[in-house]
């Protein structure tokens, strides 16, 4: 027996499993919007059930993540521990503050529940984590690891470095945002800033395609003077 809606209902499974090309997803959603309520409800119910099933199925593929991930996540959401690097210029700081103000307004508009809570002053890092387009890239640096969480929409990123060897005496690490226009300094870190871990907000990503690190004399340089020793692609 073939019901008129069989062609639609059979799509509930691939829809729930994210196994449809985007164009087909949009097509199904259009059909559902036009379908009688019982059909749309039956489809939604089927999708819900398949997703509950896959939640159960997740027991079969469970694997413990690396333990460092927990610490990274918790420091990411725990605003009390965020430190900002010394900015290289006042312009840098002004942009950061302006961006932060703009973001707080944006978040406040999201929902009454959020806006009504007492002074949810978000740190710059929180705003990055809260961005809809937040992305994470990371790289091994010798024995340590650098992780950069960034948002193009917020035009800012948050750098966490754990167990990276500090720069040799008389040198600093300098961060650079690389773009077609060249390398723009994003701040320096001395031994005290690096060890044992660093958290820093980098505003003004612009159209940079990578975050790179070099060794420079104290105070930093205007352009990189040594080869890049680590690079995180932001492309």
């Amino acid at each position: 027996m073939t019901e008129p809606n069989d062609d639609l209902m059979i799509l509930a499974t691939p829809y729930a499993l994210h196994a449809m090309p985007q164009a087909d997803v949009e097509d199904v959603e259009r059909q559902l919007a036009d379908a009688p309520a019982p059909v749309a409800l039956a489809f939604a119910d089927e999708v819900r059930t398949v997703r509950e099933l896959m939640a159960r199925m997740s027991a079969a593929t469970a694997v413990e993540p690396p333990p460092e991930l927990r610490a990274r996540l918790l420091s990411a959401v725990d605003d009390g521990k965020v430190v900002e690097l010394r900015p290289q210029s006042t312009r840098w700081r002004t942009i950061a503050v302006a961006a932060a103000a703009a973001v707080v307004i944006g978040v406040g508009a999201l929902g009454v529940g959020f806006a009504m809570r007492p002074a949810p002053t978000q740190t710059a890092a929180e705003q990055i984590y809260a961005a809809p387009d937040v992305r994470t890239v990371s790289a091994q640096i010798d024995s340590g690891r650098a992780t950069f969480v960034f948002s193009r929409e917020r035009n800012a990123g948050f750098l966490v470095m754990n167990d990276v060897a500090p720069p040799k005496p008389g040198t600093v690490y300098q961060m650079w945002l690389l773009s077609d226009a060249g390398a723009a300094s994003a701040g320096t870190m001395d031994a005290a800033a690096v060890s044992p871990s660093t958290k820093a907000v980098l505003p003004d990503l612009g159209n940079s395609t990578a975050l790179a690190f070099t060794v420079e004399p104290p105070g930093g340089s205007t352009t990189p003077t040594t080869p890049i020793f680590a690079e995180l692609s932001l492309a």
């Binding site: 691939p14 196994a19 819900r48 896959m54 027991a59 469970a62 937040v134 994470t136």
Partner: protein, 194 residues
């Protein structure tokens, strides 16, 4: 950190705990977030690594998933499903998006087309996933026909669309859709999910 799930608790218990935790996460409760992570991390990371086949990408994607949880906990709607289903749907979506964008940008098909990388079961904390449950789920997967299991493997665990599955298996689209539906029905019946 509080351990909310003991080896004897059932999935129902986990779900009830997750519901309460997620409500606290929505209030920006870092400790609740940590507990939520501890109760679900193996499921999430395990699924992501199964789909992405790359520990580095999987770590990044898992981090993004939990940041999304932190950000969107207040948007969780119990009417749409349990917190675990909400989380695993979100996790799968992000993993699949990552696979598709990597495939689109780099064409490193071989990376994802490789043979199954089945995780060693002993790496999973017993407190989080009951071994009984794991055995039951695996037994149910085994109970499917080979074509059904293959369809679910390719679509869900490799992130292929049904169009790609039909190309991979040289079968027509209607057949693939039916196999997918029947495979899922089989699993539902086997696990008693209705």
């Amino acid at each position: 950190m509080t351990v909310l799930v003991t080896a004897s608790s059932t999935l129902r218990g986990v779900t009830a705990d997750l519901d309460a935790l997620l409500r606290r996460v929505a209030q920006r409760d870092v400790e609740a977030f940590a507990a939520f992570y501890d109760n679900t991390r193996a499921r999430v990371y395990g699924l992501v690594v199964r789909v992405l086949r790359d520990p580095g990408y999987s770590e990044e994607t898992t981090q993004d998933i939990y940041l999304q949880v932190w950000r969107n906990a207040q948007g969780y709607n119990p009417a749409v499903g349990t917190p675990l289903a909400w989380l695993m749907t979100l996790a799968h979506r992000r993993a699949v998006d990552r696979v598709r964008s990597e495939q689109a940008t780099s064409q490193r098909e071989s990376r994802y087309g490789a043979a199954n990388v089945d995780p060693p079961a002993d790496r999973v904390a017993e407190a989080v996933i009951q071994l009984d449950e794991q055995r039951q789920v695996n037994a149910c997967l085994e109970s499917l026909t080979d074509p059904q299991r293959e369809c679910i493997q390719l679509a869900y665990y490799e992130g292929l669309t049904y169009v790609q599955v039909s190309e991979r298996l040289a079968a027509n689209l209607a057949t693939i859709k039916s196999r997918m539906r029947d495979g899922i029905r089989g699993l539902r019946k086997c696990l008693g999910v209705s």
